[in-house]
């Protein structure tokens, strides 16, 4: 299959991007300044991310759709306000995670943002579960960009007036060049920011205007270091079919109201795990010194017993040191528990820590 290109491909080239293939797309891993500078620029100023490879699934419907989606997602969608968003997951009957996603209630139904590598399969699963009762569009005609970092609100508001008044995890329709754009105040970097859904033909113009106002394109490399510092999961690494939301320490994203009813796919397992506990759980891991423990690094306890594995690990430019997360046996998941990480045959000391590694208090109107 031929590698796909996003509508910003030319702009990425103009900005000297280094490309990698990611989920079937040619995506920029970094630009000329490099991952560390791009990461810091996002934290201190404003960065633009091309996330057009992600799926934008529009499902059209009313009350019936809400009822049917509540059988799938562990969310209180009935009481979710118009234009508000929630983080959730698509699970199987064993509560294994098939994708993590953001779902937003729109005036016509729902918009679900899906991971690039999962979107086609998600579409199939959802179509089957919804018994083809609703119009579903995995929109290839729209691009998706994120603008993240402390200056982003000011920069974007200069071009699209009113976005600065959006609350965190909520969105609305705005216009740019007479085009309808859907903007939510959200992101995946631990910074204040927005995600903008816009027609393919206009994304280049909008992005160039954002750059002219002082923002910069940021590659997938820095996106990974930013999200890891923020303690956020990457599907296919920290989350997969063999892990449940309870094991992934994401139970905050499951509606208590819905658990009490227990009528969604995977609810039996979720309820059982919430009551009885889990054998493995996702934790933050801070290596001592500078050693970087990457994905698949084995974790040992103080008696040299293998107790888990790293699922993401890198160098955190804002933390100025190595950061990692992984799964350990529940009894070793307490904060400050000393563990050892096997890197290139040697065991290096580390400790279990709370997530995120990096936190800013920027949020207004958390729902």
């Amino acid at each position: 299959m031929e590698t796909k290109k996003t509508s910003l491909y030319q702009l990425h080239q103009d900005c000297n991007a280094k490309f990698v293939e990611f989920a079937g797309y040619q995506m920029p891993i970094q630009y000329s300044e490099g991952i560390v500078e791009e990461h810091k620029f996002t934290r201190n100023h404003s960065g633009i991310f091309d996330v057009s490879h992600m799926g934008q699934l529009f499902i059209y419907g009313g009350e019936d759709l809400i009822k049917d989606l509540e059988k799938i997602f562990p969310l209180d969608l009935k009481n979710l306000k118009l234009n508000h968003s929630k983080y959730s997951f698509l699970m199987d009957k064993d509560a294994g995670i098939h994708d993590d996603l953001i779902i937003t209630k729109t005036n016509e139904g729902f918009l679900i943002i899906l991971n690039a590598a999962c979107k086609d399969n998600d579409f199939k699963i959802l179509k089957e579960l919804l018994e083809e009762k609703y119009k579903m569009v995995l929109d290839e005609n729209r691009s998706l960009i994120a603008i993240q970092g402390p200056k982003s609100s000011e920069i974007l508001n200069d071009i699209i007036n009113g976005v600065k008044d959006l609350n965190f995890m909520s969105g609305n329709w705005f216009t740019f060049e007479n085009q309808k754009v859907y903007i939510t105040r959200s992101g995946y970097t631990g910074e204040d920011g927005f995600e903008i859904s816009i027609a393919n033909d206009f994304v280049d113009k909008l992005t160039r205007e954002l750059i002219n106002k002082g923002s910069k394109l940021i590659g997938l490399g820095a996106r990974d270091t930013l999200r890891l510092e923020a303690g956020l999961c990457l599907y296919g690494h920290d989350l997969d079919k063999d892990k449940t939301p309870v094991e992934a320490n994401l139970k905050w994203a499951i509606s208590k109201e819905r658990i009490s009813k227990g009528d969604f796919i995977g609810s039996d397992i979720i309820i059982k795990q919430l009551n009885d506990g889990v054998s493995k759980i996702r934790v933050g891991i801070k290596p001592e010194g500078r050693i970087i423990a990457r994905e698949k690094t084995k974790i040992f306890n103080q008696s040299d017993v293998h107790i888990g594995e790293i699922t993401s690990g890198t160098f955190g430019p804002s933390v100025n040191g190595p950061v990692a997360m992984g799964y350990v046996e529940n009894e070793f998941s307490k904060k400050n528990t000393k563990v050892f990480l096997e890197v290139r045959g040697k065991k290096h000391p580390a400790s279990i820590c709370s997530l995120p590694f990096y936190k800013k208090s920027y949020v207004k109107g958390v729902n």
């Binding site: 991952i35 560390v36 500078e37 490399g221 500078r290």
Partner: protein, 126 residues
């Protein structure tokens, strides 16, 4: 002091008497991106030509550092362990990796001169 020689694994080596200073090339650092971790061989240990003698890691991945000649490690550059970003800033001078008391000077003959290396680097990165 002899001319600087280069290996296909993108190390540079400068011989001064029977002590060689070894580091990684500017081209290597450009391919790696931001270097955030460096591990060097133990002082006093012996290393064999083309064997592993250290590790560098960028935010993306880990890469082995090889020694272009055999010898005994007589010195290592702690400054690049403490601040690996120095490797990106000055790879072919102050950010050297280790010094070897070399075993066999003829091993130097198997390495490339600057022109040949530049050509090699250009061809392999194209």
């Amino acid at each position: 002091m002899s001319e600087v020689k280069y290996s296909k694994e993108h190390e540079w080596i400068k011989l001064d008497g029977d002590v060689a200073t070894i580091g990684i090339t500017k081209h290597a650092t450009e391919m790696l991106g931001d270097i955030v971790f460096a591990e060097l061989p133990e002082k006093g240990s012996s290393v064999e030509k083309d064997g592993t003698a250290g590790v560098v890691e960028s935010t993306k991945a880990a890469s082995d550092v090889y020694t272009p000649v055999s010898g005994e490690v007589v010195d290592t550059n702690q400054a690049i362990v403490d601040d690996p970003s120095k490797i990106n800033q000055d790879p072919e001078d102050s950010a050297w990796f280790f010094k070897l008391k070399i075993k066999d000077p003829s091993e130097m003959d198997t390495l490339m001169n600057k022109d040949d290396y530049d050509k090699f680097a250009k061809e392999t990165s194209a």
